[in-house]
C-alpha cells in the first residue's frame, strides 16, 4: 500500500469510530437524567466534532479546516462555561 492509501484507510476507520462515539453521546444526550449530564454530552459532541473536522481536512486536503476545528474548540469551551454558570446561578436562586 502506498502512503496516501494508508492514510485514507486510517481516516475512514477513525471516522467510523468517531461516528459510533457520537451516536452513543447523542443517546446520553437524549436519556441524560439531569441537566449536567446533557451539558456534558454537548461538550463531548463538540470535542468529537473537532476530531471529525480534522479527519475530513485530511481526507479532502483542505488544511484550512484546522482553523475551523480550533474555532469549534473555543465555541465548545465557552458554551460549557456558560451552561455551568447557568446551573450554578439556578442552584443559588433555588436555595
Amino acid at each position: 500500500m502506498s502512503g496516501a492509501e494508508i492514510i485514507t484507510w486510517a481516516c475512514w476507520i477513525g471516522l467510523g469510530c468517531l461516528s459510533l462515539g457520537l451516536l452513543m453521546t447523542i443517546v446520553r444526550l437524549i436519556l441524560g437524567p439531569t441537566l449536567p449530564d446533557r451539558i456534558l454530552a454537548l461538550d463531548l459532541i463538540t470535542v468529537l466534532g473537532l476530531g471529525f473536522v480534522v479527519l475530513v481536512a485530511i481526507l479532502t486536503g483542505y488544511y484550512l479546516y484546522v482553523d475551523i476545528a480550533i474555532a469549534l474548540g473555543l465555541l465548545g469551551f465557552l458554551s460549557t462555561v456558560a451552561f455551568a454558570r447557568y446551573v450554578l446561578k439556578r442552584a443559588e436562586a433555588g436555595r
Binding site: 486510517a10 462515539g21 457520537l22 470535542v47 469551551f77 439556578r90
Partner: protein
Amino acid sequence: MITEIFAWIAAVAIVAGGVFGLLAGIGVLRLPDLYTRMHAASKAGLVGAGLTLVGIAIVAADSSIVLRAILGIVFLALTTPVSAHLLARAAIKAGHVPLNTDTTEKSDS
C-alpha cells in the same frame, strides 16, 4: 520509504484518536453517575481530538499546519479540564451527590 514510515505513524495516530473518541462515547453512555461520566468525557475526548490533530500535523508536514495543530492541542489541553471542573463544581453546588458517598458525615461544599 521515509514517506511510508511517516504515513504509518500518522495512520496509527489517526486510528488511535478515533478509538479514544469511541471510548469516550462508551464511557459517557455506560458509566453510572455524572462525575464518572465527566472523567471519561474530559480525558478520553481530549486525547481523541488531540491525536487526530497530531495525525494532521504529520500528514501535512507544513510548518503553518504543524503550528496550528500544536496550538489546537495546547488550547484543548488548557480548556477541557477547566470546563469539566466548572461543570463538576456547579453540579456539586446544585446538589448532585456522587455515588458511594458517605452521607452520614455532614459535608458543606
